[in-house]
Symmetry: C2
Amino acid sequence: MAGPTRDQKLDTLLSAAAKVFAERGYHETSMRDLARASGVSLAGVYYYVQSKEQLLYLIQSRNFEAVITTMRAALDGVTDPIERIGRFIDNHLDYFASHMAEMKVLSHEAGALQGDYLQKVNDMKREYTRALMDVLADVERAHGPAHSNRRVAAYSLFGMMNWIYNWYDPLGDIGVEMLSQNVCHLFLGGYVGLPVSDAAMPRSSAG
Amino acid sequence: MAGPTRDQKLDTLLSAAAKVFAERGYHETSMRDLARASGVSLAGVYYYVQSKEQLLYLIQSRNFEAVITTMRAALDGVTDPIERIGRFIDNHLDYFASHMAEMKVLSHEAGALQGDYLQKVNDMKREYTRALMDVLADVERAHGPAHSNRRVAAYSLFGMMNWIYNWYDPLGDIGVEMLSQNVCHLFLGGYVGLPVSDAAMPRSSAG
DNA sequence: CGCGCGTTCGAACGATCGTTCAAATGGAAC
DNA sequence: GTTCCATTTGAACGATCGTTCGAACGCGCG
């Protein structure tokens, strides 16, 4: 019968805020909007949070932390580089699809933080990017030089995965499993899956 | 000796506004910021533009129009589906890299417009997406069923290409040609370029 | 010079923003 | 019943927002 604890109420606030931020955007959303969405008064919000920016920071850092943690667990013990990539993609899309609002806020409001908040989130970003780059290096060690610059490949994969908040509906006719499978195949084997002759590439045919 | 015409001054204003919007974000930027950046008074901005939202709309629609126009020209007369894809990617990244600020505003501030402005930009988005989907259909007709759902593939490609405003520096050590080549190879042939056994995919190995 | 007109400006409008604070509330402990 | 403390609130603060408007400017033309 015990009422919700303080941390639980903060979580509720963060969850409601993530939804509103995802819909309206961080800067378009007022603290009064958040108060209305979470069912407390305007001043009540400030009992749980020091500022609007800290609220955004908590949404971003907590979810990023969770993504990194589950990613490390998903890769733990897996030695095959190709499967490690698959696990990385799978973990990212799984978490994204089941936390759409929070992950849209993390992806789309990256530039809204400043100072220490920004630096801490950027540190996580560096750590996460480094993890992917390391896996890509493993792949190249096992399968020889890749078809693409490693940095371009890494950021292209992040682009594929993070862009989904612009179009993907977890409740639509494309399940998360299918989405993850498709992105894995796309990144690893490409769309056509056949060796692409350099002569067909526009840059070389135009030069 | 003739001074700049009215349209030229509007272009200058739009260009300055795109830079500020790209750096600070649309909603964080005030009309006073734009006035300062374009060297006119606050009221002077309203002589060329009816509202802040129309200013954003003009940036988005003009550049989207340009991308679509150059895309149609780049694909004109090219019959090989693979090369059509290459041209599509090449055109997109070329324009993106040479209009970074404007294209970041187009990609990142998609949800900032409302009403008629939003609808018109969404119409262009539908047209552009349709063009890519048609090319993908051609590819599948020529090379058989693809490795990935067509819609997932299309939006993944858009994700790869539009995400670059988060990391790519046109003046860095990765040239636009290399970027375009890499994205082409990634999308068409994948990162490793080898046939990926389904057993290595996490979804099927975990089930 | 003076008239007209496209252009620019300073000043102000009401609205809304993030944040603060003293006061009110409510239930557990004595 | 009274004290205590965590929680919640209404009201207000100064700042900044997008937008408007009448006046001033600059310059070619009579």
